[in-house]
Amino acid sequence: MLLPFYWVLKTAVTNENIYAYPPRLLPESPHLFNFVDVWYFIPFPRYLFNSLIVSVLVVASNVIFNAMAAYALTKSFPGKHAMLLVFLSCMLIPFQATIIPAYLITSKLGLLNSYLGLAFPLLSTIVCIFVFKAAFEAVPQSLVDAARIDGLNEWRIILRVLMPLSKAAIATNVVLAFIWSWNAFLWPLIITREPTMQTLPLGLARFLSYMEDTTGALYAFAAMVLAPSIFVFLMAQKEFIRGLTSGATKG
């Protein structure tokens, strides 16, 4: 499981050719220059900043919009079945097939080259809606009824009752939304013209040598793009531990 990672890190700290035969198990003359080079060679802080803004935007709106949509989907209403079908089928449309119309639409909205434009297609994701939906449905109806009798309106129900009991779903949403927006490459490639608006994966790709890179720089790049996502996951980790529901029902 971990072997590829070890190799990534090993080659990230050396300059040796990864295709050399036989492959070496330990890095020879390790150095951190690759990481430093990346920082100085390109406007790394700017790209980092751009990526952060876009990801924060995406994560925040995902949690809000997805929770709302999921809540609506837990209720029964005419056309619910059709609506579910619509959501499911939206998932089945690959991004590669939507590049041109997506660009034209974003252009019409005047969002080219902007943070909102970068985030727009990802502001809500269907997978995460279903994650929330599953979590909401697992909350015992009795709790919801109790809240309603107490006079709470829909928003409050979500905020005070459902969300606290769906910490795992929120964590999943945050992690996934962050990863998807952080790693996005094709969309930022098309939507940004100015180098100052580019996101990290895009910016780092500029750094790669012009002949398909086989040395450590590539892996330094991969490692650096990877780091924040791991960090977010580690922070959200503890939400996957069980133990929060049981208390509420018993009481």
Partner: protein, 415 residues
């Protein structure tokens, strides 16, 4: 959607007609310059832009660089949206495809009017981008295939020099094959392997590009021999399965006798191969002097709003810029005067690179694999998988070439 396209078309038409009128500079005039994977030359290009705008007040040049696989996506999207970069740099036959689509400005009238410009280029390379008789691009930097060979391996096998015929290639390859060592490797993208067929007198299409001419007994025999040699290990399998890293890496490892590739391959395998020195690396033309070009061209988008300025920039880059480019990247630019001077300097400073680059300017009348097709990628897609099937032993030559002929005919008919 349809109305939008109609709007686009009429918009493009309006722009085209106003291009004829002289441009009066009022607001800052801006052109965008898209290059293909040349980011390592950032200081040089920024220098060009600075010098270019210095003499032209009110002009801005926006520079974008994208890697090869990213350019079609980027450019096509911009094209549909009506905002393509003014000056674009493409590699290989992509320029022809864009020309066929109507995305590029026809440069023929300008070249006819300014003979000082058209005469500065090597005519054979300039015609690389002539589609239906019109010129759409100027050479940015040019390359074509040649034969690199491993001198020590040749000596061990008792071979005196590079092969001078197809039979000699196969023979030499077989002699150098043993254990992990193989005799011959070629790149396969963008028709780079075609000289192997050209030297046997096989051409892909008729002169008027209307029907395939490759389904001949000779071609079948050649394909069969190549397949057998591949199976025996004389021709390294990577020739037919690899892209860029694998073939060059294999040659760099030092156990491949010959590499049939274009000049940039040298810099790649030299970096990886410790055995490569002027004494051990042999440089030669492929038998018959046949070679497939794989050049970079510069063109102007038809939808450009500042075509004259873009043309100015083109002239600047291929003249003042070419000198620097040739020196920095050690390549041939297609600008004959610049190349002559750079090569003369290289002869003294780096004889090996000089010998490699010299081949790029010789036998330019024997360039093959460069059919002026607007649907080159489709024809390639119809032909190459079938050929690959034979060369990797999955199909026999006769039926594969027949199938390929069928498919290519379909593509050509579709236009």
């Amino acid at each position: 959607m349809i109305s939008r396209r109609a709007l686009l078309k009429s918009g493009a038409g309006a722009v085209a007609t106003t291009l004829a009128a002289p441009a009066i500079a009022q607001a800052p005039k801006k052109i965008s310059f898209l290059t293909w994977n040349i980011i390592d030359q950032e200081p040089m290009i920024r220098g060009w832009i600075t010098r270019f705008v210095k003499d032209r007040p009110g002009v801005e040049v926006e520079w974008l660089d994208k890697k090869g696989p990213e350019i079609p996506v980027f450019y096509q999207t911009q094209l549909v949206a009506g905002t393509p970069p003014d000056v674009i740099n493409t590699q290989g036959a992509l320029g022809l495809e864009y020309a066929a689509q109507g995305a590029l400005l026809d440069l023929t009238p300008r070249l006819k009017a300014e003979t000082s410009v058209s005469s500065r280029f090597n005519a054979d390379y300039l015609s690389n981008w002539a589609y239906e008789g019109n010129n759409y691009m100027l050479p940015f930097y040019i390359t074509k295939t040649l034969l690199f060979y491993n001198k020590p391996m040749f000596q061990t096998a008792g071979l005196s020099g590079p092969p001078r015929s197809f039979d000699a290639i196969i023979d030499a390859a077989q002699r150098m094959t043993s254990g992990e060592a193989s005799g011959f490797l070629t790149l396969n993208f963008d028709w780079l392997y075609w000289p192997l067929y050209a030297m046997n007198g096989v051409d892909l299409l008729s002169k008027d590009l209307t029907h395939p001419t490759f389904n001949t007994p000779t071609a079948i025999e050649v394909t069969d021999r190549l397949a057998k040699a591949t199976e025996a290990g004389a021709i390294n399998k990577i020739s037919w399965t690899g892209r860029w890293v694998e073939p060059n890496g294999a040659f760099a490892a030092g156990n491949v006798g010959m590499l049939h590739a274009h000049s940039p391959a040298y810099f790649f395998f030299k970096g990886q191969g410790k055995w490569v020195t002027p004494e051990t690396l042999g440089v030669a033309h492929a038998p018959g002097g046949f070679a497939t070009p794989n050049s970079h061209g510069l063109g102007i988008s038809k939808a450009s709003k500042n075509a004259d300025l873009a043309w100015d920039f083109l002239k600047f880059v291929t003249n003042e810029g070419a000198q620097e480019l040739g020196v920095n990247r050690k390549l041939v630019t297609g600008n004959t005067a610049v190349d002559a001077k750079n090569l003369a300097d290289l002869e003294k400073s780096d004889p090996l690179v000089y010998s490699i680059l010299k081949t790029q300017l010789e036998h330019t009348d024997k360039m093959v694999g460069n059919w002026r097709l607007g649907n080159d990628s489709k024809v390639k897609e119809a032909f190459w998988p079938e050929l690959q099937n034979v060369l990797l032993g999955r199909k026999d030559a006769k039926s594969a070439l027949a199938d390929a002929e069928r498919k290519v005919t379909r593509e050509l008919k579709r236009g």
